[in-house]
Amino acid sequence: MNINQNPIILNVDNLHASIQDTEILKGINLTVRSGEIHAIMGLNGSGKSTFAKVLAGHPDYHVTQGSIQYEQQDLLELSAEERAQAGVFLAFQYPIEIPGVANSQFLRLAYNTVQAKRGKEELDPLEFDDFVREKMKLLEMKPDFLDRSVNEGFSGGEKKRNEILQMALLEPKLGILDETDSGLDIDALKIVAKGVNHLHNTDNAIILITHYQRLLDHIVPDFVHVMEAGRIIKTGGKELALELETHGYDWIHNDQKRAAGAST
């Protein structure tokens, strides 16, 4: 575990969130500093994806308690698009297909919208074409990718690469990758991981949400958090993921009981 004195990008304090009166998140605490990679692991239904959606501003989830500070702003005050413009990026577990809209149009629209909001230069179609092709090389994407409709008929791997391409274009401060490794074969996983590693630097931070250790072989986290029933129940370094892989999630409970026993 690094001792990092970099500025705090994200500070989540006692976050509770519900969907249709069912509480999913029950008091999450998390601090993310720039330059860090955090992995959040846990079983299905532990609230990992909900946490990701709440961070990105999904309208179906209601925060009932707690706060999220992002870059000295109250993140909960911002709409989903304002969060994106401010540098929060969620790579979707299930990216949406939009038949009828060319990927190139969509990518340029998103890029230019965000650039304009950040007071930066927008690109015309020709300039953007050069720019995006450069980024596509990083993810080993074929040029015809641009002409196809957004995610329509894409394989699982292509969809995930398209998500990382969007991340490369929008240059987020905080990238949240929701099960980006699911449905990927090992080659696609390596390509995606290479892309993420390339985009990661000391000024941004990444939260990886995953079931499995295997992604963490390729994107090495500074912290590993284990979620269960809407809370982070254990935090450790990258070795925690390996222990989980070896012992399973039950091991944590036993470990916690031991800890609880020791403290009383």
Binding site: A56, G57, H58, P59, D60, S79, A80, E81, R83, A84, Q85, F89, L90, F92, P95, I96, I98, P99, G100, V101, F106, L109, A110, T113, V114, K117, S149, Q166, L170
Partner: protein, 439 residues
């Protein structure tokens, strides 16, 4: 609507018929055409003006029309090429222009050395008169279609396209029907005869200058002989105050292929009937449609695909996007006759409601009398998907842009099937403008 009003309406219209219609003395009218018109006049007199009590007109109240017995439009020569320039299609080498239903040779573009016949249906010097006579009025059922009967009764000019055997016309043929007159009725007509193994793309395009109130009552007939292939793009972009009543009939012989994309954007009230008849085996049709309406528009599409013979294939996708207080109607009937084994048919009706006041009535109707067939159909009515909106917002787009993009995409799937790039682009722009205006 009372019987009396309907009768008054018809009397009023019939009184307006050109003097030569029932007068055998006129020299410039072809005999066969006069006979056809007279038959249609009788039929129109026998048929009733449709009301919402008729099953076929349940959702579409055309009674406002009966209060507007608009006289036939008059021939004018007021238009210049520059007036129609905005409607011209770059890829099209051949253009027939009809102003208020009347053929305008000056605005049309025809080349002398064509391999095929294209021109005015009722021109006295028509070289293909026997062929035209054999097909005109034979495919559209004006004997039980009031408006088609009226169109035939008032038939003046029309587009005739005859594709000889093995003739492939590569550039699209543009039929531009342009309305310019207030409070009149125009009666556009089109007849396409595709002989064996011929190929063409035809754009049937209804446009208007200004926001006039008028009636378009149009009929198009397509007859495809063995192995003929025709793409038919139909664009209805009339004035927002217009009434558009149209019937298309398609007759398919062995191995022929008919593909159509019908786009409905204009008119206050529009009704489009499309009938496809499989007259022989192994023919195929793909008929797609998009209606995108707003305000108080009503757009009604009735299609009927008759699988009368075995081994034929039909695919249909119809989409409606309704905003404000507009109302879209789709009725898609597919009939599979008892001996039409190995029929392969699919139909999908997808509808997008953008406002709480908008209305959709969709009715897929499958009547299957054969047992060895593959038929699939489905209808959905929905709003924009919240997950899709969230996805776009998470990429920085605001709510409005996200909604517009998704609405556009919903329609663009149909526009994508238009094989004429510049027209496709124009319509994409029209749909983009409409989505942004309405929000």
């Amino acid at each position: 609507m009372s019987e009396t009003m309907a009768n008054d309406y018809l009397d009023c219209l019939l009184n307006a018929l050109p003097a030569d219609s029932r007068n055998s003395g006129a020299q410039d009218t072809l005999d066969w055409l006069r006979r056809l018109r007279n038959e249609a006049i009788d039929q129109a007199g026998r048929l009733r003006f449709p009301t919402v009590k008729d099953e076929e007109w349940r959702f579409t109240d055309v009674s406002p029309l009966a209060k507007l017995p608009y006289k036939p439009a008059q021939k004018t020569n007021a238009l210049r090429l520059s007036d129609i320039q905005p409607f011209c299609i770059a890829e099209s080498a051949h253009r027939l222009v009809f102003v208020d239903g009347f053929f305008s040779p000056g605005l049309s573009r025809l080349s002398e050395d064509d391999q095929f016949v294209i021109g005015n249906l009722t021109a006295p010097a028509l070289t293909k008169a026997p062929l035209a006579e054999a097909h005109l009025g034979q495919h559209v059922q004006f004997r039980d279609n009031f408006f088609a009967a009226l169109n035939t009764a008032f038939l003046q000019d029309g587009a005739l396209i005859v594709l000889p055997e093995n003739c492939a016309v590569s550039a699209p043929i543009h039929l531009l029907y342009i309305a310019t007159q207030e409070q009149t009725t125009q009666y556009p007509r089109c007849l396409l005869i595709g002989e064996r193994s011929s190929q063409a793309t035809v754009i049937e395009d209804y446009v208007a200058l200004g926001a006039n109130t008028y009636i378009t009552n149009s009929v198009a007939e397509f007859s495809l002989a063995d192995n003929a292939q025709v793409n038919h793009i139909r664009v209805q972009r009339e004035s927002g105050n217009a009434f558009h009543l149209a019937s298309s009939a398609v007759a398919l012989e062995q191995g022929s292929q008919y593909r159509s994309v019908s786009i409905t954007l204009g008119a206050l009230i529009s009704r489009f009937n499309l009938d496809v008849e499989f007259n022989a085996q192994a023919a195929e049709c793909a008929i797609d449609g998009l209606a995108m309406i707003t305000g108080r528009q009503l757009a009604d599409t009735h299609t009927r695909i008759d699988h009368a013979k075995p081994h034929c294939t039909s695919h249909q996708q119809h989409k409606c996007i309704v905003d404000d207080s507009s109302h879209a109607v789709f009725n898609g009937k597919i009939i599979v006759r008892p001996h039409a084994q190995r029929t392969n048919s699919s139909q999908s009706s997808r509808n997008l409601l953008l406002s709480g006041k908008a209305q959709i009535d969709t009715k897929p109707q499958l009547e299957i009398f054969a047992d060895d067939v593959k038929c699939a159909h489905g209808a959905t009515v929905g709003q924009l998907d919240n997950e899709e909106i969230f996805y776009l917002k998470s990429r920085g787009l605001n709510e409005l842009t996200a909604r517009n993009l998704l609405t556009y995409a919903f329609g663009a799937e149909i526009l994508d099937r238009i094989p004429v790039p510049s027209l496709k682009h124009t319509l994409e722009q029209a749909i983009l403008n409409q989505t942004t205006q309405n929000s």
